[in-house]
Symmetry: D3
């Protein structure tokens, strides 16, 4: 595996992104995701700008957004993302009771998605609008 790129070894272009991540999130260092993405500075910069825009509170608050991110990551089975966004959701205020209910919904949705597929259920007229 390519080694992660630390701040000390990063180019000025990469450091600028790392600095903005650290300032925005008020953390001492960026997590491994960004250190690996730093191998492609263009993708690093675009991804961070997108994540920063998307995850900022708006019509949905930061906690709800983190929980949605976690629900997707659990569905896809992305181990890294489950770990990192599980931590981010807890930092944003997700209690263990909330995590338990989130997991129950994610599990049930994955189950009924397949029941709907397998029973070949046609979309109700009322849902077609």
């Amino acid at each position: 595996m390519p080694q992660p790129i630390s701040y000390a070894d990063a180019s000025p272009q990469v450091r600028a992104v790392f600095d903005d991540i650290k300032a925005t999130r008020r953390v001492a260092d960026v997590n491994n995701f960004w250190k690996h993405l730093a191998h492609d500075p263009v993708t690093l910069a675009r991804t961070w700008v997108s994540v920063k825009q998307i995850m900022a509170p708006g019509a949905l608050d930061a906690l709800t957004k983190e929980m949605i991110y976690l629900a997707v990551s659990v569905t896809n089975g992305c181990e890294y993302c489950i770990a990192s966004h599980g931590a981010a959701a807890r930092k944003a205020g997700m209690s263990e009771a909330m995590f338990g209910e989130l997991m129950a919904v994610v599990g049930m949705a994955n189950e009924t998605n397949r029941l709907a597929n397998g029973y070949r259920v046609p979309v109700d007229e009322a849902f077609k609008w």
Copy 2:
């Protein structure tokens, strides 16, 4: 495709489930998902009892739960579930602005899940607890 089972044609066992769905959700009729699942009364009853328990407000409110359900369904590409839970989320209070932000988070999570996979990013020590 097997035909959906309407209330008029349903067994007393199935009608009892349909009645509870209608009473709980305050709707005049159940949607197609339940009418198709009615071909297997055991699965129908178990699924409804589970959904009723899981989707009731608790540590998470009903709207947040519906949005998580929708996020999973979009990730899995389940057309029926996107249509039905999109409607349910809107009924529970999801505005179009909230839907737009939900979709942005779902899209980004699906993207970064693959970036983490492809770059083979190891889980940070801080996320291992």
Copy 3:
């Protein structure tokens, strides 16, 4: 969409595959999957040879194999495959009661797969052998 290639319009190479499918399955015509795959005769021939070998009764009987095929197709949400392998499984002897139980297992497996992901459950020593 490219048009399906019918027997009348097929090359001798494609006809030979169609003939073998019809003889093996004792059907009057091949289904759409093969008529579309016929646009690539190499893939058509290789896929048919593989399917014929894999789906022949062996340590597992034909019905069990069709039900496994259906379970995978439902999990992936492949509409065509759910329709065609649902029909094949029924032809091989799957009753509606068996279908109902298959769907219940598929649904539960999809649910618990995500519960295991989200709770980050480590593999038991006993399962590592």
Copy 4:
């Protein structure tokens, strides 16, 4: 990661579920999945009741059900579930020859699901019933 909850540390409510799992499966201890799910006693109880009902022999025997569970888990890439349900299927009588054929079917189904998607094959009239 949250630590698994052992029998010694479990609440009476959780112990009751653990006791039923051990009695039903005739095992000395529950596996990690249940010890982690024990962080949410409501989900633990509901999931166990559902799994117990679904996996009991009925129109399908226990072995067939375990193989379907395994096929779904392999398709989703759930490492824990592949390990635990691989063990369960073997315990229920799956020979290595049966496992080999199961894997061949799962592999082929995942391949042809994508061929059907990519060639945009329309569902045959005969499969629409």
Copy 5:
């Protein structure tokens, strides 16, 4: 379903994005994807800027990029994306022979991904670098 937003009904902000899509791709109108995304002008603008940057020829040519896009869309079973990126790949020079080989690779990768999962194959030392 929300109606697509046509150029005539679009806000100046949305029109600016539509204009850039049309100019960049030299097309008379944008396709449905953009007309639906226009319900969220922020996501519309960000997605277009990202797609424009990512799909421009660089170390990989435009055709290779479109084929990779198509391979992902086929794997995920996204009907819309298979249709639109299938068209885009053909426009960029993908012949039917190339499409056939692309589909063969996508099918085989989806098969062997599951064989690797199910046989629980450990990563070779040589691939760990």
Copy 6:
């Protein structure tokens, strides 16, 4: 986990496949995937014959095929396949700049696949042909 089958312990039937893999790829030993698949000599032989046919240069060159294989593996989150086909693609000529662009396309495709799902975008007439 079942142990991999080394050349020294392999049956003549398995050795013949291993020999062909080594000769075709000009490698000193086969990788773990084949050593595990060797538990089922029928699947081993069929899979190798298919892979050899599919991955040979044709309308698409070997590098493009490996990159498509990698894109699918990243989308599915198959750790083994990402490692092995990442190595194979690099051996076939994929530079780190090409890898970076491949990952950007894979990420974006996974994102827009979900945007198309969630916004329920109907296929344009122009893409229906």
